[in-house]
């Protein structure tokens, strides 16, 4: 680690198909609940009117609404309810999304076809731009450090957390509100993902299973409050864990298919472990990308073997997508939150729906039910959280629980 500033997690917020809140995400997953219904992971218990005024709600696309509500929870969790603990110009905001405000695009495109181009809402652009969620969080909480969206398909949320950590380490920020949000459960969204043959026709998420036939699309948001460790301690913050390492690479190969060797993905994971100063033997849990697609689950397995060596066969590996589906640009952030809670509970939640592993998938994917997490090293427990994306983007995050 050298003299790098350390980045601790002091707040978490989530809205997922398992409910509004970070706790139901972890608790219900660990209890074996599947949040997928009718072939999609919708946030059925999310009602914008419970959290936002009419004016706020009608000026945000659903992806921003989900992100803002997750940020409210994260900031409250961090104890930032009243005055911010840092100069507002030292607090940054990153809200990633894979797609942005697609339902706003669809609505306004319909208006253009039906009533003419001059009837498009002036709120169209400010609602569908992919940075709209970051802007909404910055405005809502008065965060005046740098703010922007990050776009890298299904690694967006993980990139947001990794780059937020870098901002703090470099000294550009003392705290960053970082995460991802996605809301693409629309007719057009389904049609597009169906066209690229990525979706499960049966509507079942069963990562690593021999019968897996694609991912199940979900929606939601996850937001973390990250703070520089010494500043967080000085203000007496509750410290839930640490973003200890970040690594990212690109396949520079196919537009949608992952590199079949898993090598570029493995390099991202190795870089993340080097960044954290941990070795595979110190990792107690891997939160897989585990999409339930034929290609990902095979190449991810190879990547884990390359990155972890013999430990790939010993470390329990499970996929959050088995309970909530694939939250695209929110996935990396939501899964980081689930990972942290699993570490702190000392529980490995299961890969639900996994009955018979596919050919060559011979790692411990934790089928069935939760089990106790065996902490393989002293000190704060360590996990690896994987994210891979269309476009060939790969991200590894090393997350530590509380010590």
């Amino acid at each position: 680690m050298g003299d790098k500033r350390r980045v601790v997690i002091t707040g978490m917020g989530a809205v997922t198909p398992l409910g509004v809140g970070a706790l139901p995400l972890y608790e219900r997953w660990a209890a074996g609940v599947v949040g997928i219904e009718d072939g999609m992971g919708a946030c059925r218990s999310f009602d914008p009117a419970e959290h936002l005024s009419l004016k706020e709600a009608r000026r945000m696309d659903r992806f921003s609404q989900l992100g803002v509500v997750a940020s409210d929870e994260a900031l409250a969790h961090a104890g930032w309810n009243d005055e911010k603990p840092y100069d507002p110009f030292r607090i940054s905001t990153i809200l990633a999304t894979g797609i942005g405000g697609i339902s706003t695009v669809e609505t306004n495109h319909d208006v253009m076809r039906q009533k003419g181009a001059n009837r498009i809402s002036p709120l169209g652009i400010p609602m569908y731009m992919p940075n709209a969620g970051a802007a909404a969080i910055s405005m809502r909480h008065g965060l005046q450090g740098q703010s922007f969206g990050i776009v890298s398909a299904c690694t967006s949320g993980a990139h947001a957390i990794g780059l937020a950590a870098r901002m703090i380490q470099y000294g550009d920020a003392d705290a960053v509100v970082a995460g991802g949000a996605e809301a693409t459960l629309t007719e057009f969204g389904f049609a597009c993902f169906r066209a690229v043959q990525a979706l499960s026709e049966k509507g079942i998420s069963r990562p690593f299973d021999v019968q897996r036939d694609g991912f199940v699309m979900g929606e939601g948001a996850g937001v973390l409050v990250l703070e520089e460790a010494e500043a967080a301690k000085a203000r007496g913050a509750n410290i839930f864990g640490e973003i200890a390492g970040y690594g990212s690479t690109s396949d520079a190969g196919h537009l949608t298919a992952p590199d079949p060797t898993g090598r570029p993905a493995a390099t991202a994971l190795t870089l993340a472990m080097h960044d954290a100063g941990v070795t595979p033997g110190e990792i107690s849990y891997v939160n897989a990308h585990g999409t339930s697609t034929e290609l990902n689950d095979a190449s991810e397995t190879l990547a884990l073997k390359l990155a972890l060596g013999e430990y790939a066969y010993k470390i329990p590996i499970s996929s959050t997508k088995s309970t909530i589906g694939h939250l695209l640009g929110a996935a990396g952030a939501v899964e980081a939150i689930a990972t942290l809670q699993a570490l702190n509970a000392g529980v490995v939640p299961p890969t639900l729906g996994l009955e018979v592993p596919g050919e060559g998938l011979d790692l411990d994917y934790v089928p069935g039910q939760s089990r106790e997490m065996v902490m393989v090293a002293d000190g704060a427990p360590v996990a690896l959280s994987n994210s891979f994306a269309f476009g060939g983007h790969n991200v590894g995050l090393v997350i530590k629980g509380h010590g």
């Binding site: 005024s53 009419l54 004016k55 000026r59 001059n118 009837r119 002036p122 709120l123 400010p126």
Partner: protein, 80 residues
Amino acid sequence: MSVTKEQVQERVVEALASFGPDADTITSSATFEELDIDSLDLVELAQIVEDEYGVVLKGEDMKELNTVGDVVELISTRAA
């Protein structure tokens, strides 16, 4: 087709209320600033007004307007 000022007032209040403020705060003398109605809301209002009364409100028209009464007056005059 003639339209009364009262009808315009009623429609404008309904439109503005759909943007956020409580209907009972939208009086003739209420300013857009007080109602937290900004330039984006006024563009939406202009679209509704054009659909409803065929009155085109341009950006320069809107800049002169400060209160609900101002916009009702302008629409009523032009629609007459």
